[in-house]
């Protein structure tokens, strides 16, 4: 699966605030890229499975994010909702190469949004 991905460089890790996130708009989705206090980077689709809350804007703690709309907590590693809640936020592949964040996009996510 991973080898079908197109890896996109979105710039240095420092471009994402610590304990925060930024978003990347693809042709089909918006991706939330998180940077945790221990300098790791994770990505989820920026769409809460509950009611589409923008996860990038939630509070980041440990390897979790709390959705800004109704406080569901999701694991950044698996996307799984924590505690009594059900649901799973879609995970996106991301890795750091020499200080730069690279996001793995599926072929359908590729391409610029306002192309043409």
């Amino acid at each position: 699966m991973t080898d079908m991905l197109n890896w996109i460089d979105v710039g240095p890790v420092e471009g994402i605030p610590l304990q925060g996130a930024r978003t990347l708009q693809t042709r089909t989705d918006r991706i939330a890229i998180f940077r945790t206090l221990d300098q790791q980077v994770f990505a989820l689709l920026d769409r809460c499975p509950h009611k589409d809350g923008p996860l990038a804007q939630g509070i980041v703690h440990g390897h979790f994010v709390t959705c800004p709309l109704h406080n569901m907590v999701f694991s950044l590693e698996t996307g799984q909702a924590q505690g009594p809640d059900d649901g799973c936020a879609a995970k996106v592949e991301v890795k750091i190469i020499e200080g730069s964040v690279h996001v793995g996009l599926t072929p359908s996510q590729m391409g610029k949004r306002h192309e043409g």
């Binding site: 996109i8 460089d9 979105v10 710039g11 420092e14 471009g15 994402i16 605030p17 610590l18 304990q19 925060g20 930024r22 978003t23 990347l24 708009q25 890229i33 945790t36 206090l37 221990d38 300098q39 790791q40 009611k51 589409d52 809350g53 923008p54 804007q57 939630g58 509070i59 980041v60 703690h61 440990g62 390897h63 979790f64 709390t66 800004p68 709309l69 406080n71 907590v73 694991s75 590693e77 698996t78 799984q80 020499e98 730069s100 964040v101």
Partner: protein, 824 residues
């Protein structure tokens, strides 16, 4: 110091020739390993760029600080080279490798043939390409020459700046300080040694360095090195100037693969080698920091020594398993500071973590476990078990049976982890426990022992502690438990969240009693069980710190809900609403025109009058927010904080300015109150209203602070709430002048800010502590009212900054409003 033994042709043995490039730690260790395996196999020649014998590079730090001399850090003396028949050309770097002819050529023009070549060129210190980087007085920290430059600068005292707060930078800083310089460390990340330490340990280390007089500035982005003939200072990108006679650049290293790349060997980040340290050319091996093995480059000696063994096996033609990569651990070599880190301590979903904090001893330990095995460890303050954890980590030892006591170390002999009881036990006797009645710990403990008190009520009646608002009752209970021992069962208090055993009130008290001024400080001192809290405790701590240390504590954006972070209200579709302040509900044509223009210009779909007497622009796109604010600012409007746990609106009716029944000027009173209180952060939202007569058209009796004008003055009401549970206000008191309205209002707000729990509105707060408590402190005690009011005004001095203007004009938090884009 060059040693040239008799040529092989004279001694009559034609051995294969091994040429080593790099007279450093990895190269010479490989030679030593080779000699121990096959002493006479090669005719060995070594080239070193540095004009000296091989020395222990990691001891440059003690060399700098004066704890060691050069002779003490030499590894191989000139005699050693002689005894082992090794030709050493020091101070003569190799500049070309001719692989076709199997020769190397040096700067001095030597050309020497090899059968086997060993590359051990180490790495280059990174020099950030800043203006001024070439000025005399700017050095890196890599070799003895660098130390000489530093020592020369240190001889005259003066200021030094170290750029980079990693292992090397901090060791340089400590060394220069020991030599009498006043040192500032500039570090880009949020805490020092961020690659080896988590924020908690980084915080402790930073505290210790500051305590020793080293100034550490984190989040520091260096813009320029200043000076004409030699360096005189450093300027940060934010404009800050720091004077410096010496600048040490210690921002990292880059594997030195230049020579290898020029000769056509495969070089990625480093010279690529296999498990036997062979490069892409079978006649050439490489070891040390210059290599890349299984995608990994190393910057510590332990892996290099492993590589040296495998490389020696290969050169001696001994069949062995090869090098399989290393797990590394780090220790900071600063006398009196114990820091250790190993493995991957970032944790994660499949991992469990054990956090142990002993605030009294300044100890922090964090162990990350996965599948019953140690995956990473960070230790601060007590690293005596570092080797034990590291061994188990490398061995993959199953620690399930040790798990419960693992954090206490190898020599565990019983004991308990920190808890709220220990936190009060650690307080000094003069620490204030009850703020209402000014009772300190010593008084309470004395009363308990002298008078044989055994219950909270007895303590209350004998000492008055916890007899007023009761918010310190948790602390008093813990004092009872600690003084009476196991005989006392403290009433269970609800902890803030699962990250801690402390309740809201105790945390507030302890922040002040222990002078805790940052989030990591609170988490360490109160022995938080997670590394960085959660969405429940972090916003609460952020508010408590803000309220306790106005003007000093820096607001932590990442610990605020999105609304308070971007200063607008998030809507269900992820767009925002924007509510400009309309002082006392008053507006004018200019403001209305600006609002209309903004709505047109940014295609804002909904414009609505709110229940708080102002106008809401709904459906603004996040990326438009700064531009929307800029336009509103231009018309003189500021944020209405419709999103904040802060002052919201001050509703007014028309009052005696227009109304035929009005007895006082309610509009101007409302505007004044709003101008005085806007921008203040409170435990929950805070709303006010001013009505011009008892008909109360501004609905002041369901507000947090309501003012109702009467014939002779003003009635002041508190603790009202619309919302879910409607609560009418209680009458606080009656006053006559406008000045009194302001003073009581500010004092009441301050009491609420200092005493209520985060997310507790005034209505439930007053129901909990009782109206009488509030009256005692704000009405009966004039002295106290004045000091509350003074504290309120003091904290307003730094609170009334329009968050919109900061973001529209000054680019604060610009990242919040921009998407990432793919690099071209």
């Amino acid at each position: 110091m060059n040693h040239v033994p008799a040529p092989a042709s004279i001694t009559g043995t034609a051995r294969p020739r091994l040429v080593v490039i790099g007279n450093g730690m990895a190269g010479m260790r490989t030679v030593e390993e080779l000699l121990s395996r096959a002493p006479d196999k090669y005719d060995i020649t070594v080239f070193g760029a540095e004009p000296r014998v091989n020395y222990n590079r990691i001891m440059l730090s003690p060399l700098l600080s004066g704890e060691k001399t050069f002779d003490e850090i030499v590894i191989n003396t000139a005699e050693w080279y002689q005894e082992n028949n090794i030709t050493l050309h020091s101070g003569d770097p190799v500049i070309t490798i001719d692989r076709a002819r199997q020769t190397v050529i040096t700067q001095n023009g030597h050309e020497i043939a090899y059968d086997q070549l060993l590359l051990a060129t180490g790495s280059d210190p990174i020099m950030i390409p800043l203006p001024g980087k070439d000025l005399p007085g700017v050095v890196t920290f890599r070799d003895v020459d660098d130390v000489d430059v530093m020592l020369k600068a240190a001889a005259t005292g003066g200021p030094a700046v170290v750029i980079g707060g990693g292992l090397l930078g901090l060791e340089a800083a400590v060394g220069l300080q020991a030599r009498g310089m006043s040192v500032t460390v500039l570090h880009l990340a949020g805490h020092v040694m961020e690659r080896q330490l988590d924020p908690s340990a980084g915080y402790l280390l930073q505290q210790e360095l500051q305590r020793r007089g080293i100034n550490v500035i984190t989040g520091a982005d260096t813009g320029e090195i200043i000076g004409i003939d030699c360096v005189t200072g450093v300027r940060l990108k934010d404009g800050t100037m720091i004077p410096a006679d010496l600048v040490v650049m210690a921002v990292g290293i880059r594997p030195n693969g230049r020579l290898a790349a020029a000769s056509g060997l495969t070089v990625e980040r480093g010279v690529v080698v296999d498990d036997f340290m062979a490069t892409s050319d079978p006649a050439i091996s490489a070891v040390g920091e210059c290599v890349q093995h299984r995608g990994q480059c190393y910057g510590l000696v332990a892996p290099l020594f492993e590589m040296a063994k495998s490389c020696a096996d290969r050169l001696a033609e001994i069949a062995a398993g090869g090098y399989a990569g290393s797990v590394t651990s780090t220790k900071l070599k600063v006398t009196g500071v114990d820091v250790f880190s190993a493995g991957d301590f970032s944790g994660g979903d499949t991992c469990e973590e054990i956090v142990f904090r002993d605030a009294g001893r300044g100890v922090y330990k964090r162990l990350v476990l996965e599948d019953g095995r140690i995956k990473g460890a960070v230790l601060y303050g007590d690293t005596s078990d570092g080797a034990w954890y590291f061994q188990m980590l490398k061995d993959g030892t199953d620690i399930t049976s040790l798990r419960d006591t693992l954090a206490f170390g190898q020599a565990f002999a019983g004991g308990s982890a920190g808890n709220p009881k220990d936190a009060v036990a650690a307080l000094p006797d003069d620490a204030e426990i009850c703020g209402c009645n000014g009772v300190c710990k010593g008084t309470i403990v004395n009363a308990i022992t002298a008078k044989g008190l055994t219950t909270l009520d007895e303590v209350k009646s004998h000492t008055k502690a916890s007899a007023s608002c009761g918010s310190c009752s948790g602390l008093v209970e813990n004092l009872l438990a600690f003084t009476l021992g196991d005989g006392y069962e403290a009433a269970a208090l609800k902890p803030i969240c699962t990250c801690t055993d402390h309740d809201h009130d105790s945390v507030r008290h302890l922040i002040r009693a222990q002078g805790l001024k940052s989030m990591p400080a609170v988490m360490q001192a109160l022995e938080w069980k997670t590394a960085d809290g959660c969405h429940v405790c972090r916003p609460a701590l952020n508010f408590y710190l803000l309220a306790a240390w106005p003007g000093e504590y820096v607001d932590h954006a990442a610990s605020r809900f999105i609304n308070e972070r971007v200063h607008a209200n998030i809507q269900k579709d992820g767009t925002y609403s924007v509510v400009p302040r309309m002082w006392g509900g008053l507006t004018n044509p200019r403001e209305l025109r600006a609002i209309a223009d903004v709505a047109d210009k940014f295609d804002i779909p909904t414009v609505k009058v709110t229940g708080g007497q102002r106008i809401d622009l709904l459906g603004v796109k996040k990326e438009d927010l700064p531009a929307v604010w800029a336009d509103l600012n231009a018309a003189g409007m500021v944020s209405g904080h419709a999103y904040g746990k802060s002052l919201r609106t001050v509703k007014t009716c028309v009052g005696s300015e227009w109304c035929r029944f009005g007895t006082q000027k309610s509009m101007s009173m409302g505007v004044e109150l709003e101008k005085m209180t806007w921008g203040s952060w409170t435990p929950h939202k805070f709303k006010m209203a001013v009505s011009g007569c008892p008909r109360n058209c501004a609905e002041a009796t369901i507000k947090d602070f309501g003012v109702v004008a009467t014939d002779g003055g003003w009635d002041l009401h508190v603790g009202g709430n619309g919302g879910i549970h409607v609560r009418a206000t209680d009458l606080l008191c009656k006053v006559t002048t406008e000045d009194e309205v302001r003073e009581y209002c500010g004092a009441f707000m301050q009491l609420y800010r200092e005493e209520a729990r985060y997310l507790e509105r005034t209505a439930p707060w007053i129901e909990r502590v009782g109206l009488k408590h509030v009256q005692d402190r704000v009405v009966e005690d004039a002295e106290n009212r004045k000091s509350l009011f003074a504290r309120f005004l003091k904290s307003q001095e730094t609170a009334q900054i329009d968050p919109w203007a900061e973001r529209a004009k000054d680019g604060v938090d610009a990242h919040e409003f921009k998407h990432l884009v793919a690099a071209e």
